[in-house]
Symmetry: C2
Subunit: 376 residues, 2 copies
């Protein structure tokens, strides 16, 4: 994997670059739609590529490990072939998912014992086994196995957890360095900065991660309920330490305004379930603000869902029609709304990129942050 | 509405023609996907038009009357505009739906009192009011308000019901003749033959309907649980009485083999929820037979879902992938399966048309009836 920074913003730390992977290039800043179980919910792969214009998607190791499982994925020749998606894929490590299994998992130095949320069957994830699973999934970008601390978090817990995440990181890197890719392309490994909302821990973690000298670095444990100011403060602190010539990935972020502010701090990559999950509940994102399409006010509004959208379905269909589809709980409701939201998130990052290349990102960002957070 | 018969099969009563409507032409024989509430479940309108190649779709008056309701539909300028579908639409009369509301409806000579399945609210459908609703929906083809008798049905009930359907038919025609279309295009009215599985009643009903001299004639009350032999016998009997120069529509039919056999008897139009409903349960129709994609036998079958399909998603994706999507209950499962089934049903009728024009329909039909009813 290579990263070439093509433009740097003058008024902020934003930058525009190109990441090269075995499955093609990614123009940054970029948002990665979440495709948990080998599909972005309600969206065809050709829509993801041609309408939403996704350049990379995210898969969840925990879910893919359980279903379809490594045996099927291996026989298929990896996730790209299994799901017919030949652009880049990043897989998380499953850490976030197994820690969410409250009462059904036990964390030790060795790894995490957990029970499947589907059938209660018992499994074990270690830093080594999770690297092996991601080898079989065949992601272009493989994430470290870490512990994502909740918010709020006791200082002592956060420190101990971070140190374990660092020890696990060494084991992950060792495993990656002593195993070969399962298929005929290279995989890039990314460590993850932790440390909750404590500046000294974030500093220590960022320095430890920077010292590993990997091709990509991620910031985890944010967008978990902390105030936005804390998210931005931690992101700014960590961005100042992580190497400037490597892509920075802010995991699980976030709202459109979070993405814009974080681009200004030097973040290159984002992922979040928000646009797709909220779409299925009738919350639409547009450049003019939020729409709750279930509201009665839209019932006879025959204007387009979003006249500015890159998605034909949002330009052609009316708010009244989409509201009707939600009220009668039709499948097409979630399909149209998901395309709207993901198209908007991809527009948001590509427009950010354009503004960076034009040197006008920072002033545009300030206007957009206000616009996108309004409720229509 | 005009109907032009272009080819007649030599070995059967099958014919190939063109129906002209204000929203374009329909090449027969044709299958109409069911779009109950202003959407064919899980399918975008552009997929319906370009991938599935639907030429006409069916809407349900009962459902559209309840939601979004006539006020919204009128403001939208009719269903075509509301749902962005500018090809022909046929609406059923709601008769079948209100009769299905067992214990929540009362039938009298005047019409049917019923309670909404959604909120229990009270409503009344008469032959006149149902014509008015279909005027507001703005369907190209408006169906008569009839009683669809169940199977099995007592002779006396079937006879009395049929006579009421005939009296209602006169009221429907009178209402259509004394009202204008709501929008700037003509609507065609279709009476419906009833009479259950009793040859003398079917004969009487077909003669009564033929005497109305309408531009389209329909056969109702079949495909409701009777043996296929009875369905074919009644269809043959009625086709012999209905005018040969007008399209014949066999309502609610059916399995691929039913469609093929009924085309041979002189039927031109079909509709059924089967391909779309069964798709959502993992039952796929192909020219080689039925596939239950949830079966474990497909879990590592990496051959295309249907290599012969007109639908790219069925040629690109594997059976193993689609099975996975069904097992993890992903939205995309139903989407891909619905496109598969509707594409197949539209292929089936267009291929029937091609065989009729080539004069080889009957022998091809015999082979296909065997092939499509196999289980793979």
């Amino acid at each position: 994997m290579k990263f070439n920074i093509e433009y740097k913003d003058t008024g902020s730390n934003a930058r525009a670059g190109t990441i090269s992977t075995a499955h093609g290039n990614i123009q940054t800043p970029i948002f990665m739609p979440v495709g948990t179980q080998g599909t972005v919910k309600g969206v065809h792969q050709h829509e993801l590529e041609n309408t939403i214009k996704a350049q990379i998607i995210l898969g969840n190791t925990y879910h893919l490990y359980l279903r379809p499982g490594t045996e099927i994925l291996k026989k298929a020749g990896g996730l790209h072939k299994f799901m017919c998606w030949d652009k880049p894929i990043l897989t998380d490590s499953g850490g976030y998912q197994v820690y969410s299994l409250k009462g059904m998992r036990k964390i030790t130095e060795e790894g995490v014992k957990f029970q499947s949320h589907i059938d209660g069957s018992r499994h074990f994830f270690s830093p080594e086994s999770v690297m092996d699973v991601q080898r079989i999934i065949g992601a272009d970008i493989v994430m470290a196995f870490d512990e994502c601390t909740p918010y709020p978090c006791e200082y002592k817990y956060a420190r101990n957890s971070m140190h374990m995440t660092h020890r696990w990181l060494v084991r992950c890197i060792n495993r990656m360095n002593t195993t070969d890719p399962e298929y005929d392309f290279d995989q890039t490994f990314s460590p993850i900065v932790q440390g909750s909302t404590f500046p000294d821990l974030r500093k220590e973690s960022a320095e430890f991660i920077a010292a590993q000298d990997q091709d990509l670095n991620a910031i985890g444990g944010l967008s978990v309920g902390e105030p936005h100011e804390d998210m931005y403060a931690m992101t700014e602190l960590v961005c100042g330490i992580l190497p400037a010539d490597k892509p920075r990935y802010l995991m699980g972020v976030g709202l459109p305004e979070n993405i814009l502010e974080s681009i200004a701090l030097g973040i290159d990559m984002f992922d979040c379930v928000l646009p797709s999950r909220n779409a299925r509940h009738g919350i639409l994102y547009t450049k003019n603000g939020l729409i709750n399409i279930k509201n009665a006010k839209w019932q006879d509004d025959f204007s387009p869902i979003d006249a500015d959208s890159d998605a034909p379905t949002s330009r052609i269909h009316t708010k009244a029609y989409l509201r009707h589809l939600f009220k009668v709980e039709e499948l097409l409701a979630g399909q149209i709304a998901t395309i709207q939201n993901l198209s908007f998130f991809l527009w948001l990052v590509s427009e950010s990129r354009r503004k960076i290349t034009e040197g006008s990102f920072n002033s545009w960002k300030s206007q957009m942050v206000k616009a996108v957070s309004q409720r229509l």
